[in-house]
Subunit: 348 residues, 2 copies
C-alpha cells in the first residue's frame, strides 16, 4: 500500500479555551497522507503522551514554547513507526520518538527532523509505555529536576506532589534509590497505597482526605521539615509545604496543575508563605526539561538500568482511540489518571 | 564617676503589636547601671541601627531568631564605647559593635560577649554611621545577597527595590562596581534623583508616581528583562518584576517591608506571577546575613576600600534621642527615611 492511499485523522485547535478545554475547542479533520520528499520520513503514530503542559500550549501567552495556533494540529510527543523514508538515518520499521502531533500520521521533512526531536528508540531498553514515561519527557523532567536543581543527599526528606503521576512516580523512586526519605502527596487512598506499597515511598498523604489532611500529614511524616519539595501542583499544597521547610530547602517548580485551567493559567493567589524562603534560607527554582536535551542519553541509560533490575517501576494509564482525545486530556486536571496518561492511536 | 552611679534609660516591649507598633507597645524604664563581673564589659550606647527586621522580632512566631519577650529590652544592634572592662580583650575607650539593645548602657557579661556579637571596630576604616550601614549588617546583607546568591556578571541587569534604603544603596553601588546595569525602585522623586545622580544607578523607578509606574518603568529600563532582582519590599512590586524576568534570573529575597505590619507579617497574597520562575528557569532564594558571619571581615575589607576611594557612598538618616524610638522606627514602614535609619542615643 502506497503512503498516498492512506488517510490521516487529525485533531486541530478550533478555538482557545478560557478555562477547561472541551470538545468544542477541537476540530477533527481527515486529509490524505503525503509522501516524504528527499530527506523526509513518514511516521505512523502508535502512542501519544498526554501531559499537563499541553493545557498551557493552548494559551496565547509568552511561555517557554510558542502556543499552538488556531487551526494547527495539536502538539503532542509520542512514539511511532517509520512507514516511509527518504532519509538514510531512518529505515522503514524503525521505532521513533518525537513531536508527532495528535494525528495518525506525521510527515516530517528533512528540515523539521531536528525541530521535532525525532530520534530512534530501542524497544529492548523499554516498552513504548516506558519510553513515554520513565525514559521519556516525564522521566527526564523528574531526573534533572531532582538531581540538578534538588541535589538530594542521603537521609534528606523529599516531598513530591502529584506523586502517582508521571513525573511524581519517577522522582519518588529515584529519590529512594539516592537514599532519601520520600513522602508523596496524591489524591485518594488507591493512589497513596500504590505509591507506598508498589513504589516503596516511605509515606503518602491523601490530599482528598479532608480539610487539614496535608498539614497534618506533613507534620506527621516530616518531623524534621522538608529538605526538597518537587512541586507539580501549586496552589494550597505548595503553601502548606512552604510552611514546613527545613533550613536550606530546595523547591523544584515543575508545574502547577491545580492552576492550569484558570484564565491564562494564572494562579488566583500566589504562595502566601513564600517568606519561608527567607526564614529558612531556602530556594525555589523552575525547571524546563528541554534545557537538558544534551544530557538525556545519560539519564536514559541510568533509568533503563533501574527498570531492568526492578528498582524502578513505570505505571501507565492508556486511553485508546484518537477520537477520545478531548476527554482523555481532561483526566489529568480532574486527577483521574492513575500513572502516566497516554493515548494509543494505533496498536503496535 | 563610678559606673554604679549612672542610670540606664531603656525601651522595653510592653505588648505585641497586631499591625503597626505604636508608643503604647513600649515601656520606658530607668534602672541603675551595674558593674561588670570578671570577664564582662560595660558599653555606653552611641548610635543604634533601626532596621525593618525589628518589626518581625516583635511577633511571637518561629523565625530565624527568637522573638523579643514581653518586658525585655528591645533588641538592637549598635555602636558603643567601652566605659568599664574586666575583660582583657576590651579596654576602656574602645569603640565596639554588637547587640546593645535600645538602652543607654549595656552590661555584657563574659558568657554573653559572643552571643551579642561584640567586636571592636576601627573608626579609621569608617565613621560610626558607615559602620552601621555599608560596613554593618545592611552592607553585609547586600554584599552576600548580591555576590553569593545573585552571582552578578558584567552587563547583567540588576533591579533593586528599596533602592535608597540601607541595603538597597549598597547593593546598587556594588552591582555598578561589578559592571552591571543597575535599575532602582524607590518612593518619590527625591530618592530616585539621588540614587541616579549621587550613587550612579543607571535609572530609578518611582513607585509612587502613579498606577502602572513600576510596570512602565521596568519595560523602559529593562528591555532585555531582569537578570537579578534584589527584593526588599515584596508585595505588588515583586509581582511586577516576576513578570519581567530574563532567562535564568535570580531573585534574592531579603525582606518584604510592604508586608511587615500585616498581622504576623503574613502577606495578604503571595506572588501570583511565581510561575515565571518555571517559564524562565529562574530562582528565588532567601538570605539571612548571620549565615555569613565568618566572612564579614572579607566583605568589610573590600567595602572599606570602596568607601576610601570614593566608589561607594553611605547615606545615613539619623534621628536623635532614645525617647523618639517608637516614632523613629515607623519611619521605615512609611518609607520616610532617606538612607540608613539610625538612632543617636549619645553623641560621640
Amino acid at each position: 500500500m502506497s503512503a498516498t492511499s492512506l488517510t490521516n485523522r487529525q485533531v486541530r485547535l478550533a478555538k482557545r479555551p478560557e478555562t477547561t478545554a472541551t470538545r468544542e475547542h477541537w476540530n477533527f479533520t481527515t486529509e490524505p497522507v503525503g509522501e516524504p520528499a528527499e530527506g523526509g520520513v513518514l511516521v505512523k503514530t502508535l502512542t501519544l503522551s498526554l501531559d499537563p503542559a499541553m493545557r498551557g500550549w493552548l494559551n496565547d501567552a509568552k511561555s517557554y514554547i510558542p502556543p499552538v495556533a488556531i487551526g494547527e494540529v495539536m502538539r503532542a510527543g509520542g512514539v511511532g513507526r517509520v512507514v516511509a523514508s527518504k532519509n538514510p538515518a531512518f529505515a522503514v520499521g524503525d521505532t521513533v520518538y518525537g513531536t508527532l502531533g495528535v494525528q495518525e500520521y506525521m510527515l516530517i521533512e528533512q528540515d523539521q527532523i531536528k525541530r521535532n526531536g525525532l530520534v530512534k528508540i530501542d524497544l529492548r531498553a523499554g516498552t513504548i509505555g516506558q519510553w513515554l514515561n520513565v525514559l521519556g519527557m516525564p522521566g527526564m523532567t523528574g531526573y534533572f529536576g531532582l538531581m540538578d536543581v534538588g541535589q538530594p543527599k542521603p537521609g534528606e526528606t523529599v516531598v513530591i506532589s502529584g506523586a502517582a503521576g508521571a513525573v511524581g512516580q519517577t522522582v519518588g523512586q529515584l529519590a529512594k534509590i539516592k537514599g532519601c526519605r520520600v513522602v508523596g502527596i496524591a489524591g485518594g487512598a488507591a493512589k497513596c497505597d500504590w505509591v507506598v506499597k508498589e513504589l516503596g515511598f516511605d509515606a503518602c498523604i491523601d490530599y482528598k482526605a479532608g480539610e487539614g489532611a496535608v498539614r497534618a500529614g506533613l507534620k506527621e511524616h516530616c518531623p524534621k521539615g522538608v529538605d526538597i519539595y518537587f512541586d507539580n501542583v501549586g496552589g494550597d499544597i505548595l503553601d502548606q509545604v512552604l510552611a514546613k521547610l527545613a533550613r536550606k530547602a530546595r523547591i523544584i517548580i515543575c508545574g502547577a496543575i491545580s492552576q492550569y485551567n484558570n484564565a491564562n493559567s494564572m494562579p488566583a493567589t500566589g504562595p502566601r508563605n513564600y517568606l519561608s524562603l527567607l526564614v529558612n534560607r531556602a530556594r525555589m527554582e523552575g525547571i524546563v526539561v528541554f534545557d537538558y536535551a544534551d544530557r538525556y542519553h545519560i539519564a536514559i541509560a541510568e533509568m533503563a538500568g533501574y527498570l531492568k533490575d526492578g528498582r524502578m517501576k513505570s505505571k501507565e494509564d492508556t486511553v485508546k482511540g484518537i477520537d477520545t482525545f478531548p476527554e482523555a486530556l481532561n483526566k489529568l486536571f480532574a486527577g483521574e489518571n492513575f500513572g502516566k496518561l497516554m493515548l494509543e492511536v494505533a496498536a503496535d
